[in-house]
Amino acid sequence: MPKNYINLLTKKTQGELKDAKNIEFSSIYSAFLPILACVVWIGLVIANGAVSQNVKIEKVNIETQKTMENDMSVYQKNNGQLVQKVDILKPIIQKDVDPNKVFDQIRKNLSTYSEILSIDGYTRKSDGQFSFSGKSKTYLDLSRVIKKFEQNTELKNVNLKSIAYNKDADIVTFSVTFYYVTL
């Protein structure tokens, strides 16, 4: 513009100058945004790496555990076999009773009544139930015998299965059933 000219254009106001300055500062600050983003990203990548490392470690641990489990599965199999076999054998073992023990129990319980009672048979059924049959002089004696059998803890489910009075012989015939406790 020639020197002699008068500049009629208005100068920037203080406000406009301040705004321009603010914009300049904003520009400078905004330049940090990508840097900030990169820093955050790098931080996240590091954190992710750490978590991933832990995941890898856990996977290796689990793999090791699985291998150990496989190696030790034979013990599980042995235990399972024993558990099953014992379960299967339990009802059979419960029937494993020496008849002499049963004879002794009966004799022991009847010893005080040997003058008034007599025995003529012993039986065992396939469900494990024992019984003995005999003769008694009176019903009263028989009821005492039954009570004594019921008090015996080695016997359970004691029942007077049959009872009959023979008028000609004046004798009571009876049959007592029970189970012998094993296991």
Partner: protein, 269 residues
């Protein structure tokens, strides 16, 4: 005229100057906002392309890590139980050997009681009236062979059905009719229970020709007649070869201690 021309020229210059100024302002504004725009764009770009996927990946990995840790804990519990089983495996094998000795496989030749009964009846002056040796194994029909299936999964890890092991036992019955004195029959039973093998007296019918006082039974000369059935049990081949069922028993399961104690006391020599 000169003045008018000069004014006109000034006006043209001002007008040109205003136009230039407007263009310059626009460039300035563009310059001023370009950095923030680029910065924000870069920030958003980095955020969308890198930060969000990485953050998502972290959350996924955390979730996976939690699952893996839970799985590791479960596995550790299993390993602890397996270690306990390993520690008592020697006893388990010993118990299994005892069971296999008294309850063999159905393929094993079952040695009957024939010789024992013949020898002992002779030894105790008993009269062996009749004997039927059970060498033919039969299915057990009284329900004793039923396995507790509730403890066993019905399918294996691959989803294949596990064989049912309900027919796990076979039985070979031996029947005999013996006559003799009560004391001799007692001696026979006494020796029978010393045999290191599992024979169950399934049925028995011991009858006397006369009624005898309890205190005189063992001393009486009265003849007793004994009808007896001994049962020898064997595990079915189907059961023994079904090893998948054994591994499906929970690790925490323990064999019935009372049965084990009985077996150890009676059959472990």
């Amino acid at each position: 005229m000169e003045l008018a021309d000069r004014d006109l020229k000034i006006a043209d210059d001002v007008s040109g100057s205003i136009k230039k100024s407007t263009k310059k302002d626009f460039v300035d504004v563009l310059k001023q906002y370009s950095i923030p725009l680029i910065s924000v764009s870069l920030f958003l770009g980095v955020a969308i392309i890198s930060i969000f996927p990485t953050a998502t990946s972290i959350f996924d990995n955390y979730k996976q890590l939690d699952k893996l840790k839970a799985s590791e804990k479960t596995n550790q519990d299993t390993l602890d139980k397996l270690t306990t089983l390993k520690e008592r495996d020697a006893q388990t094998i010993s118990d299994l050997a005892t069971i296999d000795q008294i309850v063999p496989s159905e393929k094993t030749k079952i040695v009957g009681l024939q010789q024992f009964i013949q020898d002992k009846t002779k030894q105790y002056n008993l009269d062996l009236k009749e004997m039927t040796i059970g060498e033919q194994l039969q299915k057990v029909s009284d329900g004793t062979s039923t396995t507790k299936t509730s403890k066993v999964a019905t399918v294996d890890a691959q989803g294949n059905p596990i064989k049912n092991t309900e027919d796990s036992l076979r039985v070979a019955p031996t029947t005999a009719k013996i006559e003799g004195k009560f004391a001799d029959i007692q001696s026979f039973f006494s020796d029978f229970y010393k045999v290191n093998d599992l024979y169950i007296i399934t049925t028995m019918n011991l009858k006397s020709s006369t009624s005898i006082s309890p205190n005189q039974i063992t001393t009486s000369d009265a003849k007793w007649s004994l009808d007896i059935t001994f049962s020898k049990y064997a595990f079915s081949e189907d059961f023994l070869t079904n090893s998948v069922a054994f591994t499906k028993i929970p690790i925490s399961s323990v064999p019935d201690s009372t049965v084990l104690k009985y077996l150890r006391d009676r059959y472990t020599k």
